[in-house]
Subunit: 320 residues, 2 copies
Amino acid sequence: MPKDYAAEILAGSTTAVARLITWLEDEDERAYQCMVQLYRHTGKAYIIGITGSPGAGKSTLTDKLTRHIRKAGLTVGIIAVDPSSPFTGGAILGDRVRMSEHNLDEDVYIRSMATRGFLGGMSKATGDVVKVLDAFGKDVIIIETVGVGQDEVDIIGIADTTCLVLVPGLGDAIQSMKAGIMEIADVFAINKADRAGADQLLAEVTYRVEQDAHIKPTDWTPTVVKTVAVNDEGVDQLWEAVKEHRAHLEENGKLQEKRRERTYRETLRMIHSELFRIVREQLENSGQLDHIVEEILDRKLDPYSIMRQIVSKWLSISPK
Amino acid sequence: MPKDYAAEILAGSTTAVARLITWLEDEDERAYQCMVQLYRHTGKAYIIGITGSPGAGKSTLTDKLTRHIRKAGLTVGIIAVDPSSPFTGGAILGDRVRMSEHNLDEDVYIRSMATRGFLGGMSKATGDVVKVLDAFGKDVIIIETVGVGQDEVDIIGIADTTCLVLVPGLGDAIQSMKAGIMEIADVFAINKADRAGADQLLAEVTYRVEQDAHIKPTDWTPTVVKTVAVNDEGVDQLWEAVKEHRAHLEENGKLQEKRRERTYRETLRMIHSELFRIVREQLENSGQLDHIVEEILDRKLDPYSIMRQIVSKWLSISPK
């Protein structure tokens, strides 16, 4: 009789959690039944997203924040998503677990995620892992990721509270790259705030936040806190800011609304990847795609017509 | 009678090109028929990818490189892809056209791309625009993009020759982010080479390139050139390096091989987006998704089972 991994996860087995996550990363069919079983045990965890440029100190900040969350008696799951994974298989964050000060605390589960697979694979897998850790009983789940690129933006969309980590002196170009992502931050951490330029950056961000609030009034104005994560300075305030944002969301029914939108996007994403997975499998295994590609290369066919033909042949629903 | 934009593009109308690209960005249905018509006129352009961190000087380098390509009597298309676009609509690169020294040269077509839409939208749209400029008759097409994130990596996968721009002093973290992307570079430009640390970076990259060639022998060892793009120094060597790489690819039948792989990925990606377009249309317009989401939120249903149910209902071919 095969092991019931979902039951083992619900009973607290970290081995089973690790195994399931590997299956999810590998798109192993065995993950499916586990996820079906685990889903109704989800929805309790609070999800924090931590994003920022490479070198902003996200890992250290996550580690110190975890210390404060643990002090509050809560358990923590950390998912470090490595954007370089399409090539390196996650080498950069490979040591993430070992690097953490919490690696011996059994109430903290840390996992680096490397993604193989096609587009959107990273955000889909992250969403799945969040559910695993949620069902596993972690009170707070932190997703740590570099905030550039569309897939990373989708990853951050999974969080209830998003924290953008900025540091003084990383250069204008890099900061401006964040211009887009500033719009989704609920809390800003000006990290390495003992460096020159911290107050200026604080002033800039605060000004920007207030201006945005003026232009597009919302009922939450992002909090800006200064931190020196490596010395655990200001991290308590960051935790307070996260709690305030959470309270705000919960008071106004906004948390439910946010989760509805997330579930909406997530369900679309799942259906889409499943369809694509099957279509791809068929096209590749039958050798059909190889044949089509030759015709396209010879300009006997064009990929645009082919795309529509295949899709309409495969789907029994008739698109307009 | 509607205008035949494809014919106008083939006849040299930049207005028609601009219109079609906007349709592509907007996923306007009218783009489809144009692309079908244009496809058989593609395959002649040589495609160069220029990638690197924000602040590496990619735009200046592209501009100077264009000057050398123009001197060789070739026409140029430049596509500047803005990774921040999911939010800002491409504000950062919005002035790319105005900033170029070639903005009055009618043999240089420059376009910034902002993407709206779902995952993979950016790489799909870039692939489409490359085809438009190819059919439009540009001899060389340069794609300029920041090299972080899976979608950006896919964008660079469109190029025949990929040039990674590195600069001294941008910090270890950022350089190491490039570790993955180093593997796809055919040519390295150490830009801003008049800065302190340029020789050290040159030595590091050269060492790395030689080591890689040792570990995983290939028949092309990436060229490393020093440039000071702003003064047009070393850009001639960069252009020589690109031409050498091109000659290498063409001699060995590798270009055809590379384009076959690209067409393979591209065709898959097109089917991927087409599926998504239809999935979304069907689920959203019927209000079906809203209903499902409520049930999922209430934990009456799980998204995993739903996904399989919908997919098996929709697919006219039974998987496996």
